[in-house]
């Protein structure tokens, strides 16, 4: 089995770290995002994801400043998403120091942006961000605009199409599990991981070290942790130790 990554996901509003439930009802955390980021880096996190939670409402300069500051003392990969609508937007984010961009809403509206960004910067740079929600019939549907807008697209089909269009990774967020601290949506993880051959980052609901192990067993190549980490309910060392106990190799 290949090594698995543990990623810290930081949702950003303006210049603050926030955390909500089901991607809404944001609450501010006390310290500056860069402080959290540096702390996680020092404790051995493998990667950072910044999500500009309200990119359309705020000035983009604050997220760019956060990225730039991150590159001063954090030397691991940085993915940035939220409000990227064009190749030019992606370029600005990458030039500020991000290694990859995560695109959700614009990819839903104009799927061609996946190929454009992958063609311009390489597919390793293009992360397709999927917000998945289970509907009443038990089918996973694609949502967008921070899970405010619904599509009738099937998540599994969208993931496959994203790979065909050139996405290098999928950031798969379970809107239902997000912020609930009740574990991850393992069915979702396993169905998407089986359907695509690119790495899948599972996001939403990690509350205990066991959740990392379960997500990996369900096919995740990487797992993002947010709320439980920000509130100090889990720590990076415990997750990695639990992974090792279960024969999962991490950094």
């Amino acid at each position: 089995m290949s090594p698995k990554r543990l990623i810290a996901r930081l949702d950003i509003k303006g210049n603050r770290l926030v955390k909500g439930i089901h991607l809404e009802g944001w609450r501010f955390l006390p310290k500056h995002p860069n402080e959290y980021c540096y702390e996680y880096y020092q404790h051995g996190i493998d990667e950072i994801i910044y999500m500009d939670a309200v990119a359309s409402l705020y000035n983009r300069d604050s997220i760019k400043e956060i990225i730039r500051k991150t590159t001063e003392n954090v030397f691991i990969p940085i993915t940035v998403g939220g409000g990227i609508r064009s190749v030019e937007n992606a370029y600005e984010i990458l030039r500020s120091g991000a290694d990859k961009v995560a695109i959700c809403s614009q990819a839903v509206k104009t799927p061609g942006i996946i190929s454009e960004v992958a063609g311009k910067f390489g597919n390793q740079c293009m992360v397709l961000s999927i917000q998945a929600k289970k509907n009443v019939e038990g089918r996973y549907e694609v949502w967008y605009d921070v899970a405010r807008e619904r599509t009738e697209m099937n998540v599994i089909e969208w993931a496959v199409k994203g790979e065909e269009l050139g996405a290098g990774e999928i950031l798969l967020t379970s809107v239902d599990a997000e912020g609930m601290e009740k574990g991850m949506d393992l069915e979702l993880i396993s169905r998407v991981s089986e359907a695509v051959s690119i790495p899948v980052i599972a996001s939403g609901g990690l509350a205990r070290p066991e959740d990392f192990v379960k997500a990996v067993a369900s096919g995740a190549d990487a797992v993002a942790v947010a709320k439980a980490l920000h509130y100090g309910k889990v720590n990076i060392e415990d997750i990695k130790n639990k992974a090792a106990e279960n024969g999962i190799s991490t950094r």
């Binding site: 090594p3 880096y41 590159t71 030397f75």
Partner: protein, 210 residues
């Protein structure tokens, strides 16, 4: 004033991260793009993300191929990173067969897609090992623990003709591939030292202390 490290800008990568990482370990960084700047460098770095043919085309368009080869022949330290490392080899096979810089004999081949549990692009931290040819201790890895993890992002890998040019190995499924290469003063890493935490920073520091 730290050591002067010149990083080649040929339009194929985000130079901020690698510049910051070198600065963090005490270098004075120059971003360069002209042939004479390559010729005058003390420590030369060829970074890069993207496809092999595009990378070579961009170097050629800037008339940098000859100057890089001359620089390497002068014995001063040269380090390639990721695509920059792949281009040190003789030839690449990404999309079309393309000549590289030819500083290390060998080819750049696609990662196999039939390794169960290992996906392409290979985006991951991998343990990296001393192949036991004796050059590890005398290289940028000299203080690196055997088995240290580094961050890789790639779909192709370098296969030097001479085993002694393989400086470090990693494993992708059943494939043992060159995580780093070295021939005399020319080194290269497939992984991104500037994204590999302390282990990567130490390696950049060692490059400057070559």
């Amino acid at each position: 004033m730290g050591k002067e490290v010149s990083i080649i800008d040929y339009g194929m990568s985000n130079l901020l991260s690698i510049s910051r990482a070198f600065e963090h370990v005490g270098a004075t960084v120059h971003i360069i793009e002209k042939p004479e700047e390559v010729r005058n460098a003390d420590y030369l770095v060829l970074p890069g993300v993207g496809a092999f043919p595009d990378g070579m085309k961009e170097l050629e368009a800037r008339n940098l191929v000859g100057p890089i080869q001359e620089y390497a022949a002068s014995g001063r330290p040269l380090m390639g990173v990721c695509l920059g490392m792949q281009m040190l080899l003789t030839r690449g096979f990404e999309y079309i067969e393309t000549n590289g810089l030819g500083l290390i004999k060998g080819e750049v081949l696609p990662l196999p897609r039939d390794m169960k549990g290992f996906k392409v692009p290979n985006i991951n931290w991998h343990r990296t090992y001393d192949p036991g040819k004796g050059n590890w201790k005398d290289s940028i890895f000299r203080e690196t623990e055997n088995g240290a993890c580094f961050y890789f992002v790639h779909s192709y890998y370098a296969k030097p003709d001479h085993e002694e040019d393989v400086l470090a190995t990693s494993q992708f499924g059943d494939l043992v591939f060159a995580a780093a290469v070295k021939r005399n003063n020319v080194s290269g890493t497939q992984f991104h030292p500037e994204k590999s935490g302390d282990a990567g920073l130490e390696l950049l520091k060692n490059f400057m202390d070559t």
